[in-house]
Amino acid sequence: MRASHPATTDAAKTATQNTGVPRNETAEIDIEAFLKAQDAKDQLRFITCGSVDDGKSTLLGRLLYDSKTVFEDQLSATATESKKYGTQGEKVDLALLVDGLQAEREQGITIDVAYRYFETDKRKFIAADTPGHEQYTRNMATGASTADLAVILIDARRGILTQTRRHSYIVSLLGIRQVVLAVNKMDLVDYDQSTFDAIFEEYVAFAEELNLAEVRAIPLSALTGENVFAPSETMAWYDGPTLMATLEDIEVTGERAEQARERPFRLPVQWVNRPNQDFRGFSGTVASGSVSVGDPILASLSGKTSKVKAIVGPAGELEQAVAGQAVTISLRDEIDISRGDLLAHPKSAPDTVDQFAAHIIWMDSDPMLPERTYVARFASDQTIARVTDLTHLIDVNTLDHLAAKTLGLNDVGYCKIALDRPVAFDAYKDNRQTGAFILVDKFTNATVAAGMIDFPLRRASNIEWHDMKVDKLARAAANAQKPRVLWFTGLSGSGKSTVADRLEQKLHALGKRTYLLDGDNVRHGLNKDLGFTDQDRVENIRRVAEVAKLMVDAGLIVLASFISPFRSERQMARALMDEGEFVEVYVDTPLEICEARDPKGLYKKARAGELKNFTGIDSDYETPENAEIVLKSGEVDPDTLADQIIAYLESHS
């Protein structure tokens, strides 16, 4: 890591006065020359982050104001609002230029990331102003995921806080390698150099453990504008560049820089373009490297290869496409490629496996539960994923690794993830496009986590299914029955086990080979290490489902009787079986009846508070939406209900 401040660097000392877009000048402008200069400008995306009240929005408002990006009508509207919500007395509160939501203006805080745009003679900037409150960390991560650089603010009076550390860690986790430490509110500490030096030293010591390439520190005041655009006269002891000069001149390293072209070629296929019989192209944005007409191409998922026939770019046919361009590639051979595939060069193929280790940032108020299934979205592919092992949780203050069973909102964890089929990807450190993923809740569709792949796990290719001579079909035939799982779900006391018991007797009488799995015979043996917390319930059901799967493979009719309150676990069990093998039986008995029956006296204990996490009382039961069979056990006797199931099995055999 390179850390610099005036004591350690001879970096450019002159601060450029912005003449960027000469919006307010009536002088003659050579428009043709201007347009030509504009065409050549590059782009810097950065975030401003740090703790609450460190002055992020004020700083960004200052950058907009001093770069003359603010229009008169916007300024006068802000002046009106300053009277109502402002914190600067009679002066215009520049933070109100960026805090765009009503709730933000009322509370005087930033809730969501705001994107702002300004430019100078040298560059165009896209700035993301991110919230400082811990509860909005996910919005901060949203801003950081597309940034090249981070400006981390520190209130000179308060120094380095928990949020400073948290944001610095997330910044480095998301692959930003350059940090500008803006030590703000210097006017409130009498422009004291030793205060600044102490903060800088403390930060550098902390940042040693982060994967940052460069830290530059600048003492400034967003409120007065000192060392933002214009150098500060009162801080003559600082002779480094201003913040603006730094942003204008800093050379961006990392993913979005030109080095991305030197990396292996990757193009995630977004869309297959088939406008007519004669054209079949694969559209997507080049994630890294470059590709030319005639180059060999590997479709990572199928392993098939071909050569590039033509490249259609945004301005027509191209000889070569490079990282960052959105193109359409046609190939010489008709090979099967669809959305989700990753085009690469055959000599530098990505990993194509179904397990990997990754960091994840948890972003949902419902905790992450190991073994629960989520939808995983990669560059263009999508599949089902589950966390098989939460290796550790990271304490953002100390960067210590802690043991944990779940991840809560804003926690960062390191874990192993298994997919239901192989996906092509790279490590995040090698490629921010093809090494990232998000997890989505299957039922609420909320984005619950952001993930960064560390490395592939190759277990999948080592454990191969032995192709046995005697298979499921043969065993089913020997038993003269169709093997299945009858999955009884419902509240405690709903009558699941009673009906399952009656059904098993009847099936047995019919000569069927059955097995009844229930809490009694599983909880005392296989699952005796599990309790009743949410994560233990998930693991309980996963094991039961796997056992049921083996028994179905053995040719049995399995009756599984478990409360199984969560939709996602029932769905997981269903997904393990083949089509038609899983029959969900919802024993639909109202809570009042179950509670009145209370065969084991459990409701009484739960109501008395002696039993925690009891389904229906202080733990949710998610009603099945698509059960094959619904039993009204409150209204009909168990014998009739068992016959109802037999009728279903006969009509679906």
Binding site: V98, G100, Q102, D112, N139, A141, P275, V322, A326, V440
Partner: protein
């Protein structure tokens, strides 16, 4: 190999977003408002699917108060590009005689624009709708995601926006829900004009200065586009050299005095201007936070 410029990067990002929607949604539509931002968005969509054409129709929500030149331009463009164009007019509003002059900008916009848009989206069962909004236009837009989730009743909830990391967009929705997608979120007004210049994108002539009949209302120059604009006794429209920075319903859109007749002229004017483009729009200024409120109710 030359490095990608700022405009090249913006262009690629927008094309990526447009393709993502085509691949992931069942029934997308592109809101086409005839303005410069829509023109750029449509141009990008044509590029995204070349040599084919975009696999979705265009939708224009016609309030019946648009400039006549806009309607003419719209119909010619759709025919030239060979794209399906759906025009929705809120007939209920027409029957009730709703208009900006008789009912004010707020009610007119609610009924003829927001309601009409929801009507069209529901009627055709569109699950994703592209819009040409930009984050630099207005403060609440600056906070909005590229893929902006809408409830079954088309509402935007700024407090529960989905985190949107990298370019991995969460496109999952339940039946009846939808998303609004803004492919040119990260473009500024200047970027749009530079791109129009670079790509030579055709625009409605109203953007360019010409002699037009206008009257002054509350400091705003309103063009007399047809006989529906009531004139005060003795009031005579003045012929002035004017143009428009944005286009909407003509009684609600202020003209600016200008001699800019070409795109470079306009860019030059933009560089020297001291007012934002939405300044001429009456509807944003009804109340503090008015755009946010409109968006929550389903406005684009």
């Amino acid at each position: 190999m030359q490095s990608l410029s700022h405009l090249d990067r913006l262009e690629a990002e927008s094309i990526h977003i447009i393709r993502e929607v085509a691949a992931e949604f069942r029934n997308p539509v592109m809101l086409y408002s005839i303005g410069k931002d829509s023109a750029v968005m449509l141009h990008l969509a044509m590029k995204a699917f070349a040599p084919g054409v975009p696999p979705f129709p265009l939708l224009h929500v016609d309030t019946t108060w648009k400039f006549r030149e806009m309607i003419l331009f719209r119909d010619q463009l759709a025919a030239r590009l060979g794209l399906e164009l759906i025009v929705n007019i809120n007939q209920d509003g027409v029957a009730r005689g709703i208009g900006p002059i008789t009912h004010g900008s707020k009610l007119h916009t609610d009924v003829m624009k927001t309601e009409s848009l929801k009507q069209a989206l529901d009627r055709h069962g569109f699950d994703a709708a592209f819009g040409g909004a930009r984050r630099d236009e207005e403060k609440s837009r600056a906070k909005e995601r590229v893929f902006s989730f809408r409830s079954k009743s088309h509402r935007w909830d700024p407090k529960t926006q989905r985190p949107e990391l990298w370019n991995l967009y969460n496109t999952r929705i339940a039946a009846g829900e939808s998303v609004r997608v803004f492919p040119i979120s990260n473009w500024t007004e200047l970027d749009v004009w530079q791109y129009i210049h670079r790509e030579n994108i055709p625009l409605v002539p109203l953007y360019f200065a010409a002699m037009r009949p206008v009257v002054e209302r509350d400091g705003v120059l309103v063009m007399v586009d047809d006989e529906r604009l009531p004139l005060a006794p003795g009031e005579v429209p003045q012929e002035k050299l004017v143009r428009f920075r944005t286009l909407g319903c003509y009684p609600l859109t202020g003209a600016v005095e200008s001699s800019a007749k070409t795109v470079p002229d306009i860019i030059l004017e933009l560089l020297q201007s001291r007012g934002s483009e939405r300044q001429g729009r009456v509807i944003d200024q009804d109340q503090i936070g008015s755009m946010e409120k409109k968006k929550q109710e389903g406005y684009f």
